[in-house]
Each structure stands twice: as C-alpha cells, then as structure tokens.
C-alpha cells in the first residue's frame, strides 16, 4: 500500500465576528480554532473515520482537505502534489479525483436541477463526455445506485425524492467521475435508520469497485466501526487518538475516547458499567484550555496536563494517542 493523502500541520481559524464597537475600539481580533494543527495520512484504498462531537472540527477538516475553504496553515498532499498551492484551474483538474458526499441531501442538490442532469453535470464540466454520452452514463449511474426505473428518475426534481433517495443521487454525482478519494461527511446521519444500512452498502460497493480511499466523517462510532479501517478521534480541533479501528474501540487510550465509546448505546452490550466519569461540556474553541484541551473534564488530569500540551505518541502498532496519562486496561 502507498499513501494517497497526507495532511501536515493543518490549521483552520475562523475570525469571530466583532461588533462595530469592538472594531472601533480596536479590540483584538479573535479566532475560532476549528482545526488546530492536525496531521495524518491515508493509504490508498483505506477508509479513515474521523469521529468526534459537534464542533470538534471534523467537518471543517473535510472541507479544507478538498479546499472548499482555504486552510489557514499547513499542507495537504494528495498523490504527491501539495494542493494547498494549486491555482484555480489546477485545482479543478484535481477535483476530478477528489469528491465529497455531503451530510444534508436536502441542501446539497439544487432544487431546480433534474437529478439526472445533476449527476451528468460533472462529466460535462470536465469535458469527459458530450451531452448524449453524459446522459447515457448518468442513466447507468442511476441504475447502479438503485434509482430505477432510471429514465423516470432522470427527469425528477429533488423534492420528489425521499432523503435516502437524494443521498443516492449525491453519491452518484460524486462517483460518476470515478474519483480516487472521497470525503463522506456524515453521509448517513440525516437518513432514516432503516435506510442507513443500504446507503452504507452502496458506499462500500463503490469502494470495492473503484478501490476508493475515503475520509469518513461521522459522530456515530457504530457506523465508523462498520466502515473504517482506522479511526481518528478529534476533540476541540485536535486529533487526540488515531489507530486501527479495533484497537481504538477495544483499547481506547485517551480518556476522551473511552468516554465517547462508553456513551454509545448498544443492543449487544446493554448493561454497562461506567469506566470513566467525565464532567462538563466541550469548551469554547475561541479560548481552548491550556495544555491538554481535555484536562478540565478529565478525571486523571494533573498539573502536567494543565501546562504541557501532549503530543501524539505511538503506544501500539499504528496506534497513537495524545495524552500524558493514557488509559491502560
């Protein structure tokens, strides 16, 4: 296996809107540190799940990697090319190979574009097919994602479709270019439970067919377990733990990972004992806590945690954790 994507020291800060008074009094500009110096890589054909609670920066990470928003700092190296330096046209070229599946299938399709045209459009944009061919390929794609009879679906508008069907359209649009890499941002979280499995199956089938590499962003650890080879856990803009799925789930080393996993409801393990009691809620990303960002909520925190920021260290094969006092089982 070889590496397809590498992210180095990626940062994305959003300026906090200041009131007129604050601008006039020249109050210092503040930033939300949505993504604050993260590094990781994904191998070809691998699926990395990025998990964490809302506001941890996982969605921002996905958007920055595709340069849908510009990074504040850091490098994004895709197949050997640093895409943070690419100009508009070069970026367009690379987008043939990098695609995104969005969370909200209601908002990510234009309400006034037929779904068939929406799926065919990427081919036309990149000049990969003429109108006839694009339509033909879009029809095949509709069939492939299970929206049949395809010629009937081709002419429908998004509002005629259920959430699950729309998400199939969004996936079809992303897959028609046969990309190498896909960012799937909470691809199933807005879909009804009984439909989720079929959307996951669909993504899985494309992954096999195209040998897709995926960054799968989700808050749902059960879904991550199902689809990912490796899991990265984010907390307040930082990766706190990263490693093979089974390793992270069975031997979580970061107290936050442990808390997250233990909170997930399960049918199989109904009775559960609390291994760890964490308090409070995720603090503000404008002024993150000093040292380890998790220390105010962590039962194991000591002086060191308050002052020194932990770095990712390898504690098992390919299993990294950023914690001064990793949990041992």
């Amino acid at each position: 296996m070889s590496e397809l994507l590498r992210v180095e020291h990626l940062k994305k800060y959003f300026p906090v809107k200041r009131s007129i008074l604050e601008v006039l009094t020249k109050k210092e500009e503040k930033f939300v540190r949505a993504v604050d110096d993260i590094s990781f890589s994904i191998e070809r054909g691998e699926t990395l799940a990025l998990i964490g609670e809302s506001g941890c920066g996982k969605t921002t990470t996905g958007r920055v990697i595709l340069r849908l928003i510009e990074p504040t700092e850091g490098k994004i190296i895709f197949d050997g090319i640093d895409i943070t330096k690419l100009g508009k046209e070069q970026l367009r070229e690379i987008r043939k190979r990098m695609q995104m599946v969005f969370q909200d299938p209601y908002a990510s399709l234009s309400p006034r574009m037929k779904i068939g045209d929406a799926i065919a459009h990427p081919l036309l944009i990149h000049g990969l097919a003429d109108k006839e061919e694009a339509k033909e390929l879009a029809l095949q794609m509709l069939k492939r994602v299970g929206l049949t009879p395809e010629d009937e679906f081709y002419n429908r508008y998004p509002h005629h479709l259920s959430g699950g069907q729309r998400q199939r359209v969004v996936i079809a649009r992303a897959m028609i270019l046969k990309p190498d890499f896909v960012v799937a941002d909470e691809a199933v979280s807005m879909i009804d439970v009984s439909m989720r499995a079929s959307i996951l199956e669909l993504l899985e089938s494309f992954r096999e067919e195209y040998n897709l590499t995926m960054l799968f962003i989700t808050h749902d650890i059960a879904v991550a377990k199902l689809i990912a080879d490796r899991i990265a856990v984010m907390y307040l803009g930082k990766i706190v733990e990263i490693g093979p799925t089974d390793e992270v789930l069975n031997n979580p080393a970061h107290p936050y990972t442990l808390a997250l996993i233990q909170a997930v409801p399960s049918i199989v393990k109904r009775e559960k004992k609390k291994m760890i009691e964490i308090t409070g809620e995720v603090p503000n990303a404008v002024n993150p806590p000093s040292g380890c960002r998790f220390h105010p909520r962590c039962p194991f925190a000591d002086e060191l945690c308050k002052t020194k920021e932990p770095e990712l260290i390898e504690i098992g094969k390919n299993h990294f954790v950023a914690c001064h006092h990793p949990v041992k089982d």
Partner: protein, 323 residues
C-alpha cells in the same frame, strides 16, 4: 403492576390537501407505574403522533378519529380544554426534541420555571427556591436561574426543559426524541437523568428512532411501522427474541459498536400512508412473505391484529395467528 395509562384502538389521520394520511391506525398499549416504555420507529411511523395524542395535542391537520386514552379512570380525549390544562404539565408532562419548544428565548430560565409553579398556586419566594432545587435535580448549577436560554448549550437547555417538566412530579413523562439533537456523551447523561426520574416514581413514554438507545434503559419496547404497532414487549423479548419480521430486519440493519456482524438493509421504502398497502403494511418489504407462497392471499389481504404470544409479548403478524 398498576396501569398508569391505557391507550385503546387509537387512530389518527392527517387531513392534508394531498389526501388523508393514515398516520396511526388502531394502536393499543398500556404503561404501568414506574415503567419506561420506548416507542421505536422510522420517521413517519406514527410514534411521535401517538405521543402527542396522549395529551390531545395532535397538530393540525391531524385528527384523532378513534380510540381512548385512559388515565386515572378518565378518557383524556373527552376532557374539555380546562380539565386538560390541569393534567398537562402537572400529571403528564412532555419534553421535545428541540428544548426551545418549551422555553421562551427572551426570559431567564429561573423566571420561566417559577412561572409554571406560580401558575399552579405557589408563592413567589417558594417558587424560586423550588426552581433552584429543580435545576440541582437535573445537575445544573443553581446560578443558571439567571441565564437566558441562548446562554446555555443544547444539553443544558434540555435539562432545563426536563426540570420544568418535573416541577410537579408527574405520573408520566412523555419524551419525544429528547436526545436526537445532542452528542453522545450529553445524550448519555440526559438518559441517566430520565432514568433517575423514573426511579423517583415517574413512568416514561420515550420516543426514539434509535433502537439501540431504547435498548439500554427501557423496560419495554414498542415497535411501530407505517402507523401500526407491530410488536410490543419487554426489552429482552424484543431484542433477543424478536418475532415480527420488521423488528428482525430493523435489528439487523442497525450498526452496533459491539457487534461483529455486517448490517443488512431492509429492502424497499416505507409506504405512502395516504394509500397504505392492503393487509399487513409491511408485506411489500417482508422477506418471509416473499419466500412463503402460502402467505399470499393472507398478508396482502387481511388486516393484522396485535396478539399476545407469550406473557407481555405482543405481535401483529399473520405468522403468529392462532389457527
């Protein structure tokens, strides 16, 4: 066990411009004292509509066309608005997915909790003391009485909503997806909170789309599909020995952190309730119906009935009909 609420043959239709949506059809169940019953189903299965019907709050154009909701020997659907107001919030209270439904964004949370108490006859001073106590009960610091809702996080707002719902030690708490908008860790703590309330004597009617969430703290699970109650029983009965093909399929379709099996999707889509399938509403998606030729002419023709196959375990499926 003493029965707290008894729902019989409840049917609710929505009279929309596009046709009559048969959202809830002939649903019967009861909830006992200190019992936690979770209603599970997809969106559009009718689970929330049932919850609203208990307080006679089905939103327009919905109408309760048939059925009884018996609470304390009275049919709540026959009470007038004034009598109903006495029950709402006092004996049966409700929390919603979006806590802002029950909070006023422009007023401090303390004032809002106190107001509910004063309305039902408390003195001002006493009401504020009690408001503080209620906040403590839901694990919020007392000083939060001076906060406005927007100064609180989603989880904290939901705690305030629960505190308000608990002001009069209701007999029944209806919780409509109270954790859906929250992150797992906060969700877990809200679930713990509801469990504490149950231990203090309140029965829980919990609505969720997530069957694994229902698995952990409930006593019983009711599975709804396309407006019908298809299976109802104790948690172990539903999860370890599911009978209805829909329940089985649902359990197989849900990813689980601690399970090694692959998930499999339920084929097809839920039906359009303006024109539900004849017979069992699940039959077009039912794999057993597809395989067993002898069921043709039964499942796609005859209405299903909820029958008790073992103690406390009810199922509405022709496979379990008494012959």
């Amino acid at each position: 066990m003493k029965t707290i609420i008894d729902v019989k043959n409840l049917s609710i239709y929505y009279y929309t411009l596009a046709g009559i949506v048969r959202a809830v059809e002939n649903v019967s169940f009861s909830i006992g004292e200190k019992e936690w019953v979770s209603f599970v189903g997809e969106s559009g299965s009718g689970k929330s509509t049932v919850a609203y019907a208990i307080l006679n709050l089905v939103p327009s154009p919905g109408k309760i066309v048939n059925g009884k909701v018996v609470f304390n020997g009275k049919n709540l659907l026959e009470l007038d608005e004034e009598e109903m107001r006495q029950i709402r919030g006092k004996e049966i209270s409700m929390v919603f997915q979006d806590p802002m439904t029950s909070l006023d964004p422009l007023r401090k949370v303390g004032d809002q909790i106190a107001e509910v108490l004063i309305e039902h006859g408390a003195e001002k001073e006493e009401a504020f003391e009690r408001a503080k106590e209620l906040l403590r009960m839901v694990n919020l610091p007392e000083d939060r009485i001076n906060y406005y809702p927007h100064q609180l996080s989603g989880g904290q707002r939901q705690r305030v909503a629960i505190a308000m719902a608990m002001a009069f030690h209701p007999k029944l708490l209806i919780a409509d997806e109270p954790t859906t908008a929250l992150d797992v860790i906060v969700q877990d703590s809200i679930m713990d909170l509801i469990a504490t309330l149950k231990s203090k004597g309140t029965s829980i009617f919990f609505v969720t789309h997530d069957i694994s969430l229902a698995a952990e703290r409930s006593d019983k699970i009711a599975v709804m599909y396309a407006g019908k109650l298809v299976e109802f029983g104790k948690v172990e009965q539903i999860l370890d020995n599911p009978l209805h093909p829909y329940t089985k399929a649902l359990l197989e379709s849900v990813p689980d952190v601690w399970s090694e099996r692959k998930v499999s999707a339920i084929p097809g889509y839920p039906p359009d309730l303006r024109n539900p399938p004849k017979g069992c509403r699940f039959h077009p998606r039912c794999t057993i119906f597809k395989i067993k030729k002898e069921l043709h002419g039964i499942c796609n023709e005859l209405e299903t009935e909820l029958i008790e196959v073992e103690k406390d375990h009810f199922v509405a499926c022709h496979l379990y009909r008494r012959r």
